[in-house]
């Protein structure tokens, strides 16, 4: 077959009216300004990043393509393993990810695997780039690798160097040696979901996990639910109220899975992101020694809110990656499917839809990068704006991909129906998108009050 010189409705690059050829004839002085180099959106965006982050982005993409791509559909279909068990292929992934420094990038080398160069930029930006590239290939495996970092952030944000030295550094070392020591983050309780993410709700919430003072430490009693990676984590940052007090007394405890009384009750059967389990955890009088308190007692709520302010950028990154993955799947489909002798890519309605998907994805990526590049201090308003806007828009992009592929998009083998199921989670966790909208208002409250006062 002779190669197609142009898509239907367009001029070929060689056509006398095509800008590409015409620009080449403009005066040499102006030519570089009006003639961009031929580049995909990925290449343009990567080139716009600072060098250290561009390098990180390429590394994340390489890792995702090499390690996640082939596991993606099978991991989604596999039955959820029993608590504590990991599918052999995912166990192998975790080992490789550990060795390659994908699980230890919250600390700089040699304590962790982050390059010193990347520390010149906000950590949340690097984390958002990472979650984007991993989610672009597989939401479930991305979550498996990312929930771990979420479990570590509270220790970093407690500013407790001793805890970092005692808990994170040895775990990172073990992980980089190929024996993954995973963390998880546990705030959600049967009676406190949104209440664990939002101050007003927290102030009236009845805590479920309670810490009672005992000699030499604390005894934890109660349940946490929906904890990502809670089934295989060796260390869990668990937030608990002190006896007879409310969430204002929340304290962050480092619970290890070998502590007597700790139980993984069950793994949920989820709609998507199925390579990562969401677990119910029970604490039956789990003794936690004093030196496993992260930060100080009663600092838990602050640590939790700071953690969420940072991690919501990463959730927005996931959404961008899922939108990107869906867009690429739709483009692949349009380029390989023919109807009545033409490639689908030749049809204007398909071109319009693909342009929409590319642009919506670029728009949310732009919003996220714009906010993240300044997020040396993770702001609640910005991180929540990015979280709900990027996730809502990403779901719309995935719907467009499904629509472009029609009936074929509904097949598991298409990969896009899985992206839809994965993407739907991003509108729910780390605070529902309703709660994130309220978080924007909460953070801007003083300004609104001042205006009310003025009126």
């Amino acid at each position: 077959m002779t190669p197609q010189s142009h898509l239907d409705g367009f001029l070929s690059a060689e056509h006398p009216l095509s800008p590409r050829g015409l620009f080449a004839n403009l005066p040499a002085a102006i030519r570089p300004v009006v003639t961009p180099k031929l580049a995909t959106v990925w290449e343009q965006d990567t080139a716009a990043l600072p060098r250290a982050l561009a390098h990180a982005r390429r590394r994340y993409r390489g890792f995702a393509e090499r390690e996640l791509r082939d596991r993606s559909l099978a991991a989604d279909l596999a039955p959820h393993p029993k608590p504590g068990e990991v599918l052999p292929s995912l166990a192998a992934l975790l080992k490789t990810a550990g060795r390659e420094g994908m699980l230890t990038d919250l600390l700089p080398r040699p304590l962790g695997s982050a390059s010193l160069g990347s520390y010149r930029y906000p950590l949340v930006w690097t984390q958002a780039l990472r979650s984007e590239e991993l989610a672009r290939v597989c939401g479930g495996q991305m979550l498996l690798l990312s929930a771990h970092s979420l479990g570590v952030i509270p220790i970093v944000f407690a500013g407790d160097l001793s805890a970092i030295r005692r808990f994170v550094v040895p775990a990172y070392r073990q992980t980089m040696a190929g024996d993954p020591h995973l963390f998880a983050y546990a705030i959600t309780e049967p009676s406190a979901g949104s209440d664990a993410e939002e101050g007003h709700g927290a102030s009236v919430s009845q805590p479920n996990v309670v810490a009672k003072r005992v000699s030499g430490g604390w005894s934890l009693q109660g349940r946490k639910i929906f904890i990502s990676g809670g089934d295989i984590a060796k260390s869990i940052t668990v937030f608990a109220s002190l006896e007879s007090e409310g969430i204002e007394s929340w304290t962050c405890f480092l619970v290890t899975n070998d502590m007597p009384g700790f139980e993984v009750v069950r793994n949920e059967l989820k709609m998507g992101m199925r390579a990562s389990a969401a677990s119910e955890l029970a604490f039956h009088d789990v003794f936690v020694p004093d030196d496993h308190v992260i930060g100080s007692p009663r600092q838990g709520w602050a640590i939790n809110r700071a953690t969420l302010n940072a991690s919501r950028y990463a959730v927005a990154g996931m959404a961008v990656g899922l939108a990107q993955g869906a867009t690429e799947a739709a483009i692949d489909f349009a380029c390989r499917t023919r109807l009545a002798g033409k490639s689908l890519m030749d049809f204007q309605e398909v071109q319009l839809q693909i342009a929409n998907m590319m642009t919506e994805t670029a728009a949310i990526r732009g919003m996220l990068w714009q906010a993240a590049r300044k997020a040396y201090v993770a702001r609640q308003d910005r991180s929540s704006m990015c979280k709900f806007q990027c996730t809502d828009e990403a779901v719309r992009v995935v719907e467009m991909a499904l629509e472009l592929m029609g009936n074929h998009g509904t097949l598991h083998e298409s990969g896009v129906e899985k992206i839809y199921r994965d993407a739907r989670l991003t509108q729910i966790f780390e605070g529902t998108n309703q709660i994130n909208r309220l978080a924007v208002i909460e953070d801007q409250q003083e300004h609104f009050l001042a205006r009310i006062e003025r009126n």
């Binding site: 209440d195 009545a340 629509e403 029609g406 009936n407 509904t410 083998e413 739907r424």
Partner: protein, 379 residues
Amino acid sequence: METLLNEEDVQTALGEVRRFARGAVSSNVERPEHPLPRHSLEALVSVATEAGFIPDASDEPTGLWVDLNDPLGPTLSARTLETLASVNPGIAWACHVRAMPVWLAGRLNRPEALGERETVVPLHGCYGLGRAALPRYLAGAELAVDDRAMLKDWLMPAQKDARRVVHAPAGFDSVLSPYFDGDSVRWIRQPIGALDPLPVGPTLGLDEVDAVALASSDAGIPLGPENPEEARNVFAEALAIQSLALVAVGLGCLRHARDLAREQAKARKQGGRSIAHHPAVQSLIGSADSAVAVVDALLDRMSDGPLRGSRVGEMFAIRADAHPLLCRGATDALQVFGGSGYMQDVGMEKALRDSQQLRLMGGTPGDLARFVAEWERVR
């Protein structure tokens, strides 16, 4: 055909369907995380057939899509499906799939078209909705060479690996396929063996039925109709029936999801009170409520009067907006549940998947809208 049904008959029949749905169907699908086993689906469909909700190959079939010339016939069929879908959309779809070949064999006056075991009628071609060629053909407009090529390839693709996907319980032994012979859309009865059926694993929704990809082949017994005008009408009617079915099943599905969301909002406390009191949650439930109300009215409109192929444009116009509305309602209803909505045992994620699946079958909203534009232009 003489008019047989009155309002009371319809209500009585729907009452029986409701009892069946809330009894036998409901008790089989209490655990949304465990799709109905095949034998249970077959047993339920058999019971529905015996009860007369689904027609069989007998001389005097009753049930779905049988009385379509009767002014109340389309309403009865559509509301039957909606009622079944409010308990389980997959079972409702399986009933529709079972009824379609009986309707078609009757419409073509070819009772021998029905297979030994099961027969299916895949209506959507390999991709899309035949672009502008389909509305031109159905409106009786002049067809250009490209239009003919499009209709031919859409219904029976020339590309070797292009397959038509059928959503039906696997195990059917024959397929009644529409094909374009250069002049009209006619029908052919194809033994399954000629179509190299390929199970294509799970799909986004409708877990109870399978997805089977069929290879392209023109092998089979032609069924007509000879008359071009008649051929046009039959195909348009088939598409109109499918539209009714998709919207009716979607509406039942959303009604169920909306009801569950209401119960959840009443029971769940966050922010110091029942979440039903938070405007954020009221907006979500209100969105599901309004989607139910609007699509309910649209379904009334679609099923108003005897079914005519000439109304296919209107049916498609309605579907183009009904499905996005149904999906919006379903996703908002799920959101009322927060994290538990994401878990399979609650049933909300299934309702959302089913709604999305229905949106993408038989032409997507974009395909339908473009169809309508061309249909209105040329007719």
